[in-house]
């Protein structure tokens, strides 16, 4: 059975997505909506990773520690935040933000389709607990995709047609 493998892969994707949300949030700290929302969504991804951790044991799958965050992370966040506040008034920051949101969208879509795969596996394995994890988390991932779509739709005209 390769369920453990799928769990491990999704755990990695969610952890990476959490990091990306945080980075984008810090990089665009002068954009308050993105800053706050990205931090909320990063926490949501971390919760997904934790829930995957709780079910991984049954598939004899070892996952990296969720709490093991790079020591440099805090320092990097602070630097990005400072950079953002210095550069936040410049127009290219809007174009960069659009690019970052697009990258996040693609990463969130990858998570989403991987949840679909894991959900199918959970059904076939008759694993009710895993199925519940998939249902809860996948719903949230779908909302993340929807939120990113909303942001990209609203922001594109200004960046691409205005200046």
């Amino acid at each position: 059975m390769k369920v453990g493998q799928a769990i491990r892969q999704l755990h990695e994707l969610e952890t990476d997505l959490a990091d990306e949300f945080r980075k984008v949030g810090e990089r665009h700290a002068a954009d308050h909506e993105v800053f706050h929302a990205c931090h909320v969504l990063a926490t949501q991804c971390e919760q997904h990773a934790i829930r995957l951790h709780l079910v991984a044991d049954r598939y004899a799958t070892e996952l990296p520690d969720d709490e093991d965050r790079d020591l440099w992370q805090g320092l990097l966040e602070a630097t990005r935040d400072k950079m953002s506040k210095a550069l936040g008034r410049m127009k290219p920051s809007a174009l960069l933000l659009l690019r970052d949101l697009r990258q996040l969208f693609l990463a969130a879509e990858e998570c989403s389709i991987t949840w679909v795969m894991l959900g199918q596996a959970a059904q076939a394995a008759r694993d009710k607990e895993l199925l519940q994890v998939v249902r809860d988390c996948h719903t949230e991932t779908e909302v993340q995709v929807k939120w990113l779509t909303t942001q990209i739709k609203v922001r594109s005209p200004q960046v691409l047609v205005g200046g």
Partner: protein, 772 residues
């Protein structure tokens, strides 16, 4: 008459459910004027969303007082302190009387042609160089319908920008979004008449005794009458209404969703819901049940820091009510999870089947007097007439009315919200911003940021106002505007009552009505429709009103049955008013059919926690088709919580004597003397811990700024600091920013907004307080 400064609500006139609310005519005239020589002009009050009808007293070309209109359904002659005394601002010496332009860094007087030419030249050059995305408008909740509608056509069809919003974003955006999410469209379901008929009043985050004093008088008259309704008040502060309440849930600020989920939990768990009605008239019950199941009173009591027994008792009263009337305002709209909480209040009424019936309904209140018109005419985050920007047929219908191509009307996204307009100005993406009748330099969050945006070189700022406000002092062009009483027009209150306000006097100096200013700019730009005729085809307020009627025809806010003449002499009229309802409509949805069909809805809705927008296909999949939508949401704590450095939580709000940034009320002697300066309200326990007693000067600091003022020790949830937001700097030496002692509450607040309504959250920010 006794001073209505000390006796805010005046003499009681108790009545019961079977009676009419007795009349009581309130009047205040300049005592030096001979009453017999006063002429009267019909109008209504523009100092809160209650919209009390009044007559303006005129003597020798000056406004000399006001008198409530006994015949009117809204107030039966009564007026509150702001209404009685606020008119004196019209006569203030420091009214703007001539246009100003910036020359060598200074604002200097000029004539209209010079000012407008400068404005239009800049507008043209930005349009040519960058295009419509570089143009923004930020308007108000205090103009007249005719002004707004003219502005909406000028900005949306004429200039073609999507960046038009009102300061209504700060006061009433959540009301509009909660109505759209639940009922499919904006439009107040209930009516003030329901206060007369209800058996239970449910106030969630509304300090109505201070914000809408005349509706509170009406409630007091019921509460002191023979069949007193039950009153439940949800508010962290011990307000006047909380003191009158049967149950006061003094929850921690920012926890509305947790409390409301527990109340819904109790209604469902104890089967105090109308299942038959729910099945016939709503969708989403099962999903809602799944979420509120997780909020038993014990869990929410811990989050909200109240007694679980009180939550149970409140749910019992709500569950026993037969005519439940709910009120919502800034304690929800400007608080954590604003739209979600407002929708949950709608759910309380829906689960009880209590909507659209006499005495039973919801009033998602407004803040400002004409905020309703900002929303209706499309000067807020919607297209005119509550049209759905995502629905091509509705956009095409608007294009038909305006005689333009559908693509000429920006509808690629929701109209840009105010906070984003300022963000785009900060980035230099918006280069021309016209601020109309509002004062972001005091009313917006995080003022040091706001001042740096307004003052930045890359922004050409136009301000039209009656006074040189804090904001106007940053402007490149200042245009003097006529106030209420100096122009004719209509406006609509929070229960859909439309009033006519006649011109009583001439504007001072060269000041002009806002509509005339917009028309002058449209003329200078030479704006045309697709047939080459002038885009804006009206010149007088009455012609503008007739044009608006055409735009509103067949829409939920149908005005086609109203004329200026019909509004003269009698009471105000509630829309929709048309051939089917020539006398207006007391309450919406009395047939239990809502505007949720996918072809008619104003909005396809949002996921409430993130603000992610649903698509047309997702909306169709709901099969709401006329049934109300029970939205659900988990509780999420506020983004900023008190910590070691900043151990307290700030909430800002209003006092009964002032309105918005005191531009008018600060120029009325009685109101100004009543509350001349800011103060800092603390709970007794916190004051004691800080060694602060009543009157001590304290300093309040947040990560964003500081404020100083005298302390008041009041009944309040422990850990909360309350500061009124009205006070700025126009009447201090420096004029536009702190000079020594900062006193604007928004020095402290956060730049953060609700994900759905985009209303700024003013009611949770971490702060620390120290004695000076």
């Amino acid at each position: 008459m006794n001073s209505r400064i000390s006796d805010i609500w005046g003499k009681r006139t108790p009545f019961s459910r079977v009676d009419e609310w007795p009349a009581r005519v309130d009047e205040y005239l300049d005592p030096t004027v001979d009453v017999a020589a006063v002429e009267w002009r019909q109008s209504a009050c523009v100092l809160c969303s209650n919209g009390c009808a009044l007559d303006i007293g005129v003597h020798e070309g000056r406004i000399v007082g006001v008198r409530g209109r006994e015949i009117d359904r809204v107030n039966r002659g009564r007026l509150g302190p702001k209404g009685l005394y606020g008119w004196q601002a019209n006569n203030a010496e420091d009214r703007l009387k001539r246009p100003l332009v910036r020359e060598g860094g200074e604002l200097v007087e000029t004539d209209w042609d010079t000012a407008l030419t400068r404005l239009v030249d800049k507008l043209r050059s930005v349009l040519e160089k960058v295009g419509h995305p570089a143009i923004g408008f930020y308007t108000t909740g205090q103009l007249f319908l005719e002004d707004y509608y003219t502005l909406a056509v000028l900005a949306r069809a004429g200039i073609g920008t999507n960046h038009l919003d009102g300061n209504t974003r700060l006061c009433t955006a959540t009301s509009s979004f909660a109505l759209k999410e639940t009922f499919g469209s904006d439009g107040q379901p209930g009516s003030f008449r329901d206060i007369d008929l209800c058996d239970t009043l449910f106030h969630v985050g509304i300090n109505i005794a201070e914000t809408q004093t005349v509706s509170w008088m009406r409630m007091l008259d019921r509460l002191h009458g023979p069949d007193r309704p039950r009153l439940i008040v949800v508010d962290p502060r011990e307000t006047a209404a909380a003191k009158e309440a049967d149950i006061h849930l003094a929850i921690k600020n920012g926890t509305n969703v947790a409390l409301l989920n527990a109340l819904l939990h109790e209604l469902i768990a104890n089967d105090r819901v109308d299942r038959e009605w729910i099945d016939a008239h709503t969708v989403g019950f099962d999903a809602l049940s799944l979420i509120v199941e997780k909020y038993p009173p014990e869990r929410s009591a811990e989050i909200c820091a109240v007694d679980p027994g009180e939550i149970r008792e409140a749910a019992r009263v709500l569950g026993a009510s037969e005519a439940l009337l709910s009120f919502v305002l800034q304690g929800v709209y400007q608080s954590n999870q604003a739209t979600a909480a407002a929708c949950l209040v709608n759910n309380v009424n829906l689960l009880r089947g209590m909507i659209g019936k006499p005495g039973a309904g919801v009033l998602q209140m407004n803040g400002q007097p004409t905020a309703q018109n900002t929303r209706e005419t499309g000067c807020n985050g919607d297209l005119p007439g509550f049209r759905n920007w995502q629905n091509d047929a509705q956009v095409a219908d608007l294009a038909r009315v305006w005689k333009v191509e559908p693509l000429d009307i920006p509808h690629w996204g929701p109209p840009t919200h105010a906070m984003q307009i300022f963000r785009l100005a900060e980035q230099g993406s918006i280069q021309f911003l016209w601020v109309i009748g509002t004062n972001p330099a005091v009313s917006m969050p995080e003022l040091h940021r706001m001042r740096s945006i307004l003052g930045q070189d890359s922004l050409f700022l136009v301000v039209s106002d009656a006074f040189l406000t804090e904001t106007a002092q940053f402007a490149d062009v200042v245009l003097p505007a006529a106030l209420w009483g100096e122009k004719t027009g209509t406006f609509t209150n929070a229960d859909r009552t439309v009033h006519l306000s006649e011109q009583a006097v001439e504007p001072p100096g060269e000041a002009k009505p806002d509509m005339e200013i917009f028309l002058s700019v449209a003329d200078k730009l030479g704006l045309k429709d697709r047939d080459g005729a002038p885009l804006i085809r009206w010149r007088t307020p009455e012609e503008a009103f007739e044009a608006w009627k055409e735009c509103s025809k067949g829409r939920p806010c149908d005005y086609t049955g109203i004329t200026y003449d019909k509004l003269r002499g009698g009471s105000g009229i509630q829309w929709p008013c048309n051939e089917d309802a020539p006398g207006g409509t007391e309450r919406l949805y009395n047939d239990g059919v809502f505007l949720t069909g996918s072809d008619v809805t104003e909005d396809y809705g949002h996921e409430l926690t993130s603000g992610a927008a649903f698509t047309e296909a997702e909306h169709r999949a709901l099969h709401a088709a006329g049934r109300a939508i029970l939205k659900a949401a988990e509780y999420i704590p506020p983004r900023e919580l008190p910590d070691e450095d900043y151990p307290l939580s700030l909430t800002t709000g209003r006092t009964v004597y002032h309105f918005h940034t005191r531009t008018k009320t600060g120029r009325s002697p009685q109101l100004q003397e009543a509350e001349p300066d800011v103060w800092v309200e603390l709970a007794a326990k916190d004051a004691e811990a800080l060694g602060v007693t009543e009157g001590d000067l304290v300093r309040v600091e947040s990560p964003r700024g500081a404020l100083e003022g005298p302390a008041r020790v009041r009944g309040m949830h422990v850990g909360i600091v309350f500061i009124p937001f009205h006070y700025g700097y126009w009447d201090e030496p420096n004029g536009s920013e702190p000079n020594g002692r900062p006193r604007a509450a928004n020095e402290l607040t956060m730049t953060i907004w609700d994900p759905v309504s985009k209303q700024p959250i003013f009611k949770s920010a971490k702060v620390r307080v120290m004695r000076l």
